[in-house]
């Protein structure tokens, strides 16, 4: 193992989603998830508010992710992209688990300020 100590995140800016794991991994994980873009809306999944939370322990990283629609055919593509981007920044040996959740349902309130500005709020 890479020996990353598990510690609560104490950085200045709050994470855009609940994060429970080593502080050292927090920003790389956020950056990686921000690489996953839904081209239809020209926004990344963090800004749209699709990431419900990330937790990291000694053996695994668990992402809770939602979609805006149950009829969305690109779910698997987005999940693949999430896995690929996380794979690039995480220490080897950490298992990546992406869980698709529908509760609570996504609402536009979850969007970042930047995303809302882009959409003309």
């Amino acid at each position: 193992m890479s020996g990353v100590a598990r510690a609560p995140s104490v950085d200045a800016a709050p994470a855009p989603f609940p994060y429970d794991g080593p502080a050292a991994l927090r920003q790389p994980i956020i950056d990686a998830l921000e690489q996953v873009v839904d081209p239809e809306v020209a926004l990344n999944i963090v800004d749209v508010g699709l990431v419900y939370g990330v937790s990291v322990d000694a053996t695994r990283l668990h992402v809770r992710l939602t979609m805006t629609s149950a009829a969305c055919p690109v779910v698997d593509v987005i999940i693949d992209d999430v896995e690929r981007e996380l794979d690039r920044v995480l220490p080897a040996g950490l298992r990546i688990e992406v869980e698709l959740v529908w509760e609570p349902a996504w609402t536009a309130e979850r969007m970042s300020e930047g995303a809302k500005r882009f959409m003309g709020w």
């Binding site: 809306v41 020209a42 009829a71 055919p73 690109v74 896995e83 298992r95 990546i96």
Partner: protein, 394 residues
């Protein structure tokens, strides 16, 4: 000490592919291609253009007669059926696209009755699949997807009742187009959730789509009473929908993004323009103006195919597991499509020869798009295959 292996969910999720599934998949792809290619050949035949080496092919006359059924049910219905089946992740859901794909082949072989019944079966299964979607997420856009499926069912029932012969296509057309247009409207409504929405927006869309269904219903059941009203209602609803999309759709915002997002928005906004034209032409045609070709193709090609060209780069990776490298070249088929359509509906209105030239351009646009997609898949493989190899070497 050996580095522990990372266990990635993708590896665990990788589906095993039994031989039957692979065979059905290959069969579906071949059948979709048959519907698309023969549908295009049939469309060209209708404007008097016979492709080389097809002039005495027995399927060509069928393709000419069943052009709309091949394009809407055999091709688009199958593609949408696959897209929805992928989303609900139920194996049985693939029965819908399988049936519509085979239905297209039957039509080509001159087995019109069985072909029409297969389309009906496809629509029935598709309604059930959309019922599953609604059960999973009760939202305005999922209900609309179900309404769209019911419109397809209604069109296919009319088509099958008349055995696919005579005026069967004309009877089914408003319903088939309602299926496609309401499907698109539902998906665009879902996207508006990212914008600040007033309460009137959803109600307005509901009103417009009710008008569309009323127009289709009038055309089907009340045309003996007053033949023009159905076409007028249907056409008005198309133009009103174009206005709704122009005001509320996110494409107005995403056109200011870059790359693929901007390209998709350009496809959408171009499509909305043709939707408005289609509405006016549909209503005019109902009052006896020679605008039927314009109405059907502004809608089918200008709106729906333009929309399809915009979404293929994101849908294909999802349904066919093929990744595409987006590039500026994607704009070329789009340009050919809209340019040739302008020719067909402009100069082609008075001049049959120009209409044929425009139609050839329409077909060329779709061919250029298919080539662009194939090229984009190779370019992606080239780039990412190379980077993966580099990772392994490192």
């Amino acid at each position: 000490m050996a580095t522990p292996q990372r266990v990635r969910p993708a590896a665990r999720r990788a589906p095993s592919r039994p031989a039957l599934a692979v065979a059905l998949r290959a069969l579906s792809i071949a059948a979709v291609a048959a519907s698309l290619l023969s549908g295009i050949a049939g469309g060209l035949l209708r404007v008097g253009v016979v492709l080389p080496s097809t002039d005495d092919a027995p399927w060509l006359a069928q393709a000419g007669m069943q052009h709309a059924a091949l394009m809407i049910c055999g091709f688009l219905g199958t593609v949408i059926g696959i897209e929805r089946a992928v989303a609900v992740k139920r194996r049985l859901a693939f029965a819908a696209p399988l049936a519509s794909a085979l239905g297209g082949v039957c039509l080509l072989l001159g087995r019109v009755g069985p072909g029409a019944r297969l389309m009906l079966l496809a629509a029935l299964v598709f309604v059930a699949v959309n019922g599953v979607v609604v059960a999973r997420q009760r939202a305005a856009h999922t209900w609309l997807l179900l309404v769209a499926a019911l419109a397809w069912l209604c069109g296919c029932a009319l088509f099958a009742l008349q055995g696919g012969q005579g005026d069967a296509v004309a009877a089914a057309l408003p319903w088939w187009f309602a299926f496609l247009v309401i499907t698109i409207a539902a998906e665009r409504l879902e996207m508006t959730r990212l914008m600040r929405r007033g309460p009137a927006m959803q109600a307005l869309l509901g009103g417009v789509l009710l008008l569309m269904l009323a127009g289709a219903a009038w055309s089907t059941w009340l045309s003996a009473w007053s033949p023009a009203v159905g076409g007028l209602l249907f056409g008005a609803s198309l133009s009103l929908l174009a206005a709704w999309l122009a005001v509320f759709d996110i494409a107005r915002r995403t056109v200011f993004a870059r790359g693929l997002s901007r390209y998709m928005a350009v496809c959408l906004l171009g499509g909305y323009t043709w939707l408005a034209v289609a509405g006016a032409a549909w209503a005019g045609s109902a009052y006896g103006l020679p605008l039927r070709d314009a109405a059907l193709h502004a809608l089918g090609l200008g709106f729906i195919v333009s929309m399809m060209m915009g979404h293929a780069p994101v849908i294909l990776p999802a349904v066919a597991r093929v990744k595409l490298q987006f590039g500026a070249l994607f704009y070329l088929p789009l340009l050919i499509l809209h340019g040739s359509l302008a020719l067909r509906l402009g100069a082609g209105l008075a001049d049959v020869a120009m209409r044929a030239v425009g139609a050839v351009g329409n077909a060329a646009a779709i061919a250029a798009f298919v080539l662009t997609v194939i090229g984009a898949a190779f370019v992606w493989q080239f780039h990412h295959g190379a980077s993966r190899a580099a990772e392994v070497i490192r």
